[in-house]
């Protein structure tokens, strides 16, 4: 398993430093190469530059929110097909609909997910 994972790049776009720190620590332990961005604008820039295998995206963030970043990302030649998991605390239908509209089918509500299950989900996604 580790072999498959090794070298896969994950970008965490999240304004909550505690969450970014925790996730990157946990995912690094699994063998992923993890980097972070603290808002949508920074996330978009990093994503376009480093082409991560998976983007874990929050929605409510300063400067540029997650859904705006997603829309911008889908306009990019590479970004059109990039893998995205939305990990947020919002659970409104409207945001979910926007996500699906932009080909994101993993819309996870933070407080509903165990860290362990979240890691499993990420691994599955990158198989």
């Amino acid at each position: 398993m580790k072999k498959i994972i090794a070298g896969k790049k994950i970008l965490i776009v999240e304004d909550e430093i505690a969450v970014t720190r925790l996730l990157s620590e946990r995912l690094s332990k699994e063998g992923f190469m993890v980097s972070g961005a603290k808002d949508g604008a920074e996330g978009l820039k990093k994503a376009k530059k480093t082409h991560p295998d998976l983007i874990i995206l929050d929605i409510i963030m300063p400067v540029m929110d997650g859904l705006t970043m997603l829309k911008e990302l889908r306009k990019d030649k590479w970004g059109r097909h990039s893998q995205v998991i939305i990990l947020t605390n919002l659970s409104d239908g409207e945001e979910l609909a926007t996500a699906v509209e932009h080909k994101v089918y993993d819309f996870l509500v933070k407080a509903d997910w165990k860290l362990e299950d979240l890691i499993k989900k990420v691994k599955e996604k990158l198989k």
Binding site: V19, L22, L23, K38, K110, A111, W113
Partner: protein, 543 residues
Amino acid sequence: MLGGILRQKYAIFSNILILAGLYFVSRYNYAIFHSFIGIVIVIIGTIVFIIWNTRRAIKDISLEEAGAKYEAMFASIGDGLVITDKEGRTTFINKEGRRILSIGKSKIIGRIFSDLWTMEDEAGKELPYKKRPISIALRDAKEVKTDDYYYVPTGGRGKKVPVSIAASPIILRGKVIGAIDVFSDITKEKNRIIELEKFKLAVENTSDHIIITDADGIILYANKVAEKITGYSLKEMVGKKSGKLWGGLMPKEYYVKMWDIIKNKKQDFFGEITNRRKNGEKYEASIDIAPILNRRGEVIFFVGLERDITKEKSIDRAKTEFVSLASHQLRTPLSAIKWYGEMLMEKDIQEKDRKRYLKQLYASNERMIELVNSLLDVSHIEMGTLEVKPKAINIIDAANAVVTELSYEIKEKNIKFKEVFGADLPKINIDQKLIKIVFQNLLSNAVKYTPRGGRIIFEIKKNRSVVSISVRDTGIGIPASQQSKVFTKFFRADNAREYDPNGTGLGLYIVKSFLEKFGGKIWFESEENKGTVFYAELPSKKK
């Protein structure tokens, strides 16, 4: 000549003849010729007398007959009828007339009608004699019609009756010889009109928008509120369809369903709708359309009721938004606590990691407490249940207490903190707990957003009838483009979020709400990367 006398003075003439005849008989009773002439004269006189009397009797019978005929005829018409002679004396009144005026025949015949009944208008003002219909008919030989007056019996007899009157002159050979007054009791109609006026007033003055349309939806009537809500005048609405004026914004299916219910099923339609005012502004309304059916069950009208619920809807949306944002804000520290807890429970955890995780968990929990407190404050503010217990206090004491609480952070960040408190500050009537929250928010913001080695000046002074407070820092400032949103709940400026991700966006909203509750106000000046000054004013008037 003789014919004329004969025609007009039968009685006198016949009597003179008889007397003259008798004179001849007594004067010349021995002269046969003369007494014969006397007897002939007496006979002629008697014959004339008999003829005259008979004619008079026949005439009387025919008059009586005519009266009976009139009576029968006028009884069959439902109106009251009075005939007067040229002086206004009543010569005839029919049964209905006696009923309406509740009077017997004998009491009225031969009397001046206007002496028995005066006329008054709605307000009880008497119509002068000269202007009454009978007077006008007699004087000017004119026909007069009116529905505006009451017959009021003089001398306090009976009750006043609203009447519809038509008076016309009776003209014989170009001369007015009397008048006919036809009148009907319109008490029922009057009451109906009064009832109708009541309904009209109610419809006019209700707070809902009401329109009445024909079966095709063409507007026949709209009340004042309809004019106010839609912005169209009654004139602009009548004859048009509402769909062409303010409607048509909903999906087609909405209207199809609505028409099916009201026109085919003939039931009431209830719903919510978005319409557009004349000025282009959209509004939301709850609507209720009822079809009005005739006896055959066909729709003759629609009555549409609308209530503008734009404000309610926006409050509703704000509440939903608040709940959604509040739950989002609460979930953030909660998920951090949850995941750190999970990591702490892992078997192969190292001691240094355990400490780190615990520290994070603790910090997240602290944030959670702060957030819940703020949310409670906000909820009290919004629901209007904020408890304010004013007491005469020295606000310098409250200010010092807060500064002491923050002294550790001030020292740690090496911030030069200066207090400038006026010496002549009066005690003010204020809630101590709430004013402390105001100071805490203003000062902790200044400390939080001022880089190491910066400066903060905290000033409280008396300024005429107010106490002025200011907190001046050399912090990161508020971007000009976001300054208008600073007091909005949950709002955090981009640079503030970047500088310190932990924050609720509720502090300044709470401060502003509290100050306004005290009768005070707050404003600020700020420049990005230079600093911010928050100014607050509190009324110092002692109660």
